[in-house]
Symmetry: C2
Subunit: 428 residues, 2 copies
C-alpha cells in the first residue's frame, strides 16, 4: 500500500476562479514523483469553518499526510496557521525569533521595491505571520511566510499537517525543505515507486480509443489509465507500479497498432517540444503571421527557455492594412478572396517567412467570433499554412466553441501543421 496524501487549497480567489489553482496540481505531481498517491484536492475559501471541515475530511480519509496551501499572508483573511494549529490541538503563539527574521525580510523587500510602508502596519503583518502552533516545525520563509509541519497533539491520533504558502514560487521553493522535515519523512516512509507514462494522439475521436481499451481491458490489470481530449489532442496517461510494466507495454503496443501515425508522442513530449526539437535539429528558424490568434501562436513558440535560438518572432496582423503592410498580402488578393481564405493564409506564411528571413513561415487567418461570421464563412472558419524550404502544408477547418476555444485550438492546430511539415507524420 503506497503512502497517501490529501491536499487543501485555500483562498476565496481560487474557489471563485479569479485565480486558477496551480498548487494542487503541482503538489499532486511532485508527490507522485516521490511515490505518494493523492486521492483528492479540496479547494476552500477563506472561512475557518470550511477549512476545518476539509481538514477533518482528509485527516479522516486515512491519508498519511495532509498538506495545505495558502492563507499565510499578512492580512486578517489569511488564517491557515491558526486554524490548522487548533485542528491539531495546538494553540498558536508568536515566535519572537521568527518574527525578527520575517521583519528583516520585509524590510529588505520593501527597500528593494521602493514601496511606501507604514511601520505600524508592517509590524502588525510581521507579527501575524510569526504566529505558530506550539510544537510545530518551522520551515524558513522563501517569501515572507514560514511553512509549518504541525503534528497532532500528544494523546490524539491523526496525520501531521504540512502548511505551505500560496504563491507558487514560494511553495515550490520550500518543497525540498518540506520533504526533508523529519515528520514529513516519517509520514511518507511507505512511499513506493509509481510510474507515469503519457501517449498523445492527434486526429482521432475518444470513442475509437475507448474501443481499443475495451478490447484489451482484461490485460490492463494494475494500470490506471485516464484519457483526456483537449484542443483536439487526445492524451492517455497511465500510472502503474513497476510490476505492471509488461501490462503498460502491451497497452502501448495496442495503441501503436490501432492508431499508427496518429500516435504522435510515445514519451510524453508535447507538440511544442517536438516542434522546438525539430527546428533546433535542423538549425532552422520560424516566424509567424497570425490574425485570429492575435499573438497566441508567437507567444506559444516563445514560451520555452532558449526559444530565441529558433523563434524569430511574428506579426499579429489583426487589421487588413497590417496584412498588406507588414506581411505583403496584396490588396487584390484580400479583395478577391477575403481576409479569411486559404490564399491569404498562405500569403501570410510566405510574408512572415520573407520579412523575418526565417526558414519556415506559418500563416493563420480565421473568424474567432462571436461576431463576424457569415453563411459562407461561419464563426470558427480557420485557414492555416506552413511554408518551409522543402514544401508547404495547408489546412482549412471549421472549429466549434467559444472565441477563446477557437483561438486556443487554432494555435494547437498550427503547431501540428508545423510539426507535420518538419517531421511528416499525422495530417494536421
Amino acid at each position: 500500500m503506497a503512502a497517501r496524501a490529501g491536499i487543501v487549497v485555500t483562498g476565496t480567489e481560487v474557489l471563485t476562479g479569479r485565480v486558477s489553482d496551480r498548487n494542487g496540481p503541482w503538489l499532486a505531481e511532485a508527490l507522485r514523483a516521490e511515490g505518494v498517491d493523492v486521492g483528492s484536492v479540496v479547494v476552500v475559501g477563506d472561512r475557518p469553518e470550511d477549512l476545518r471541515s476539509a481538514l477533518a475530511f482528509l485527516a479522516g480519509s486515512g491519508v498519511d499526510l495532509v498538506i495545505t496551501t495558502g492563507g499565510l499572508g499578512p492580512t486578517a483573511d489569511d488564517l491557515t496557521a491558526v486554524v490548522v494549529g487548533d485542528f491539531q490541538g495546538r494553540p498558536s503563539a508568536v515566535d519572537p525569533a521568527l518574527e525578527a527574521r520575517i521583519g528583516a525580510i520585509v524590510a529588505r523587500l520593501s527597500a528593494l521595491r521602493g514601496w511606501r510602508m507604514e511601520p505600524a502596519a508592517t509590524a502588525a503583518g510581521v507579527t501575524k505571520q510569526a504566529q505558530v502552533p506550539v510544537g510545530a516545525t518551522v520551515l524558513e520563509p522563501v517569501g515572507t511566510a514560514p511553512g509549518l509541519v504541525v503534528p497532532v497533539a500528544e494523546g490524539r491520533s491523526g496525520p501531521p499537517v504540512l502548511v505551505l504558502p500560496g504563491p507558487p514560487s514560494e511553495l515550490q521553493g520550500m518543497w525540498p525543505a518540506a520533504l526533508a522535515a523529519e515528520l514529513v519523512r516519517t509520514a511518507l516512509a511507505g512511499a513506493t515507486e509509481l510510474r507515469q507514462e503519457t501517449l498523445r494522439l492527434w486526429g482521432t475521436p475518444e470513442s475509437e480509443l475507448a474501443a481499443t481499451l475495451r478490447r484489451i481491458d482484461d490485460q490492463l490489470r494494475g494500470l490506471e489509465v485516464t484519457t483526456c481530449l483537449r484542443d483536439g489532442e487526445l492524451e492517455i496517461v497511465t500510472r502503474y507500479s513497476p510490476d505492471a510494466g509488461p501490462a503498460y507495454r502491451l497497452l502501448q503496443q495496442a495503441v501503436t497498432e490501432d492508431f499508427g501515425d496518429m500516435l504522435f508522442s510515445q514519451d510524453g513530449a508535447t507538440v511544442d517540444e517536438q516542434v522546438a526539437a525539430a527546428l533546433a535539429g535542423r538549425a532552422w528558424t520560424v516566424a509567424v503571421g497570425e490574425s485570429c490568434t492575435g499573438g497566441l501562436l508567437a507567444a506559444r513558440l516563445t514560451a520555452a527557455p532558449g526559444s530565441s535560438a529558433w523563434a524569430l518572432g511574428g506579426v499579429a496582423a489583426y487589421a487588413n492594412s497590417a496584412k498588406e503592410q507588414l506581411l505583403d498580402v496584396s490588396v487584390e488578393m484580400l479583395a478577391a478572396s477575403g481576409a479569411v481564405s486559404p490564399e491569404v493564409a498562405l500569403a501570410m506564411a510566405q510574408g512572415a517567412r520573407d520579412r523575418f528571413g526565417a526558414d519556415v513561415g506559418v500563416g493563420v487567418t480565421g473568424i474567432a467570433g462571436p461576431g463576424g461570421g457569415t453563411t459562407g464563412k461561419p464563426v470558427g472558419t480557420v485557414h492555416l499554412a506552413a511554408v518551409g524550404p522543402d514544401g508547404t502544408a495547408t489546412k482549412s477547418v471549421v472549429l466549434p466553441g467559444s472565441r477563446d476555444a477557437v483561438r486556443q485550438r487554432t494555435t494547437t492546430l498550427a503547431l501540428h501543421l508545423l510539426r507535420g511539415l518538419l517531421l511528416g507524420g499525422p495530417p494536421a
Copy 2:
C-alpha cells in the same frame, strides 16, 4: 441561512494538473449569482472510491445540493453516473430512448468532422453514455453526454446530486436546464441575494491594505472580504447580503481615502476592459512591438470580442533583425544601448505606431530568463514605453519570478502603462 451547494470535479487530468479546472470556479460563480453559497470544491481522479468519499463528505456537510462535473464520456474511466447512482441508492440501467437520441447526435457529429468511426465501438460508447440511475431526471445532451439530477433513494436522506458533463461548453450550455429542473429548484429554494463587489489596486503592497482593513475591522461586520495579489495587482473581493450594504460602502470609502489613485477600479472592471473602453471612447487604435512577452501583449489586447475595432495588431520581434526590419529600431541604437534598454523600448513603441498607422504604440523589451541575464541587466529587467498623440509614458523595472511569471507580469504592466497614458491615474 442561504442555500448551500458543494461541487465535485472529477478527472485525473484535472487532479494532476494536465488540465486546469474551469468548471469548479465557473459553477461557484454561477451559483453565487443565484444566491447559493459554495463552501468547497473537491477535485478527485477517476477512481470510484475517491468519488464516493467526496460525495459522502459533501452530502454529509449539510449542503442542499451536490454537483459533479466530468466523467460522462464514452470511455471506461468515465464512471460518474453509475457511482452517483449507487451512492444515492439508485442502480443504473440503459435508457433506450436516450440511447437512440445520443446515437443520432454521435452520427451527426462524426459525419460533420469526417472522423473514421468503427460502428461497434461507437455503439458501445453510446450505450455507456445512456446508462442512467433509475429515477433520475435526464438533462438533454449539449454535446453527447446527458446531465442528470439524481435524488436520494426513497427512505434515505441526503441532498440530490446534479451530474454535469466535463467539457466547459457543454456544462455551461446545460446550466439553464439544470437550474430549471424541479429537484434543483426545490433544493435551492432557500437562496437569498448575495452581492459581490470588486475593488482593484495597482502599485501597493498587501500589508498596507491589511493595515486599512485592520483599522476599520469592527465596522466590517457582515462582509466577507478577501484580498488577492496577482501580477502586481491587488484585488479586493467582498461578498455580503444586502443588509450589509452600509458596511461595504464604508469599506469602499476607507480604501478610496487610503489609496487614492492606486485604486484604479471600483466597479470590478479589469485594466483590460478600461483600456478597451478608453481606446473605443476616443476612437483610437493601438499596435504593439514586443520582445520578451513574445506575443502575449497582442494576444491579450485581442482577447475580447470586438477588439478588432481598436487593436490593429503587433510585432513579436524576438530577433534583433526583426526589431530593425519590422519596427525600424536602428542598428546603431541596438549596438549602443543593447536590445534591452529604455531607448529600444521607446523605439519599438514608435515603430509599431508608425508601421501599423496606429494612434498609440506600445513597446516592450526585457529578459524573461532563465538565461540571458548579466550583472548590469539581470533576469527580470524590463523596459516599457507607450507613445500616443498627447505624449509618452515609460517604465523600467526588475521583476522577480520564473520566465512565465516575468512574461505575464510584464504584460499586465504594459496594460497599466497604456491605461496611464490614456486615462491618467496611478503610475504604472
